[in-house]
Amino acid sequence: MPPSEHELRLRERLSRLRSVPLLGGARLSGDIERLQRQLDRIGQEPTHEEIWLQVELARHPERPYTLDYVDRLLDDWFELHGDRGRGDDGAMVTGLGKLDGRTVALVGQQKGRDIQERTRRQFGMPYPEGYRKAIRVLEVADRHSLPVISIVDTPGAYPGVAAEQHGQGGAIAASQAAMARVRVPTVACVIGEGGSGGAVAIALADRVLMQEHAIYSVISPEGCAAILWRDAGEAKKAAAAFKPDAAHCLELGVVDAIVPEPPGGAHADHEEAARLLGEALRETLDELVEVPGDELRRRRRARFRSLGVFA
């Protein structure tokens, strides 16, 4: 019996995924079985409900945030505060720490756990001050040849009057430009919501990873629904249409590898989620530190400049 159409599609997808260099022997995940199961699931083009489940998992209130991983992965953590101009943005954390004895610089968005912290951190939506703080720390890293870890978790940049007056668009552009300039290894991982320009501002890295249940998208499902369907209630349809889940991002070449999560999702076991993320970061950095800085930068730009589909 000839294979069914969707079996063919699955095979094609698998072979495409296997050709992604980082996933070579699935060294990164250390668990090709899980990946295979994941792929079997997406082999049947995921339903609206399945994609929506990814959105819900990515936004789960118990999901580990940037500082939860910092606590578990970095020794001697020292947080750096302020953009040296206007203020200190709670939605963006930056600092120095040791990952297995190697000093690294970290930048990342930070959501809040309770209502006070959420307010203080603007639900993980940085102001321009946050991006300028990240730029400042990228410069420190570049000056002292420290690898950079960037943790992406934001619904988007803060959409407010003051944020606009302080130059939100320009700050996001400048932050990407800073990431395109540094001559040190950089690895970004989307750990929850990778919301639009506010996310990509710190994701122009040598390697871009994505946790299994994270999402990465050009606009929130609600925003997309409001514009294209003229009804924010159609968010599920919108999410299904623009496919923000990790498997699709991998397939489109937007991320280099998927970092596995504990069964049920990262919220179910913070320790195990951190261990898996730590392994992925370590392995990626080990590979990148071998490459000279100029070459890293050249390849990084070439990688991003190759993204897009046209005829």
Binding site: G197, W229, P244, F310
Partner: protein, 278 residues
């Protein structure tokens, strides 16, 4: 559409409808198309800048006969099979038909005031000037061509942001164009940006903000998040000139606001200052 007579004076001619594209939103003056064309699509009464098509803009900015288009044959694909209320492929075809353009950006070599440059001009009438893979690729190539020919790049932006129908790949055009501009800068060439109405979201948050010199047209909306979304999300009271070029100038985000009638001369002067070849 039925015409509604809104004139209250003893004028026996009915006034043109207020939403007619040639009715000035600033002062309600109405123009014939040829009048606007002659006036660079600027209202003679109040100075309002009407939207200007990319080809018209190029014809009025570049020296006569100097423009030679690059990468004219690039067309968008539909990587996601995107379908909202209508398929993306259908929206693309319709945009091509109604604008006579292949995409929302034209690039090519040109001269302004006798100085060589590469031009990249966006057209809002092609799907809101949205940036998908083709716009990103064209801007990226314009950077390389400018570097190769050792001339500055002049970009005129008019865009609502990234093209949602291309999903995450449209977001990737932000880092893509940023990397292209960084390469241009490393090659020692300048980027001069003229922001026309509107320059928002993904385009503002990428190459448009990275110009060595940032100019804007009067009254242009220049914002990462537009007023409607800011209002809906934060319930903040918006200042009257929220996000307009004038406010951006006041807050230090622009070098100058340049009316259309002065843009040619201003760009020529900047090209001289950056020693663009004659």
């Amino acid at each position: 559409m039925a015409r509604i007579d809104v004139s209250i004076e003893t004028d026996d001619k009915p006034a043109p409808p207020a939403d007619h594209p040639n009715t000035c939103p600033g002062c309600a003056s109405h123009y014939r198309e040829d009048e606007l064309e002659l006036a660079l699509w600027v209202c003679a009464q109040c100075g309002h800048h009407f939207p200007m098509r990319a080809r018209t803009r190029i014809a009025r900015l570049a020296d006569v006969g100097s423009f030679a288009e690059d990468a004219a044959d690039l067309h968008s694909e539909d990587p996601l099979g995107f379908f909202d209320l209508r398929p993306y492929a259908e929206r693309l075809a319709e945009a091509e038909m109604s604008t006579g353009l292949a995409e929302a950006m034209l690039i090519g070599q040109a001269a302004i005031g006798g100085r060589g440059c590469e031009l990249a001009v966006m057209d809002f009438s092609f799907m809101g000037g949205s940036m998908g893979s083709v716009v990103g690729e064209k801007l990226s190539r314009a950077c390389d061509l400018a570097a190769e020919r050792a001339v500055p790049l002049v970009a005129v932006t008019s865009s609502g942001g990234a093209r949602m129908q291309e999903g995450i790949l449209s977001l990737m055009q932000l880092p893509k164009t940023v990397c292209a501009v960084e390469d241009l800068h490393d090659a020692g060439q300048a980027l001069i940006v003229v922001m026309a109405h509107p320059t928002t979201a993904g385009v503002l948050a990428s190459f448009a903000s990275l110009g060595d010199v940032l100019l804007a047209e009067p009254g242009a909306l220049i914002a990462f998040t537009g007023p409607r979304v800011v209002q809906q999300t934060t319930r903040e009271k918006l200042p009257d000139d929220f996000g307009l070029a004038e406010q951006n100038l006041r807050f230090g985000h622009l070098d100058a606001i340049v009316p259309r009638s002065e843009q040619r001369e201003t760009l020529a002067r900047l090209l001289r200052l950056f020693d663009a070849p004659e």
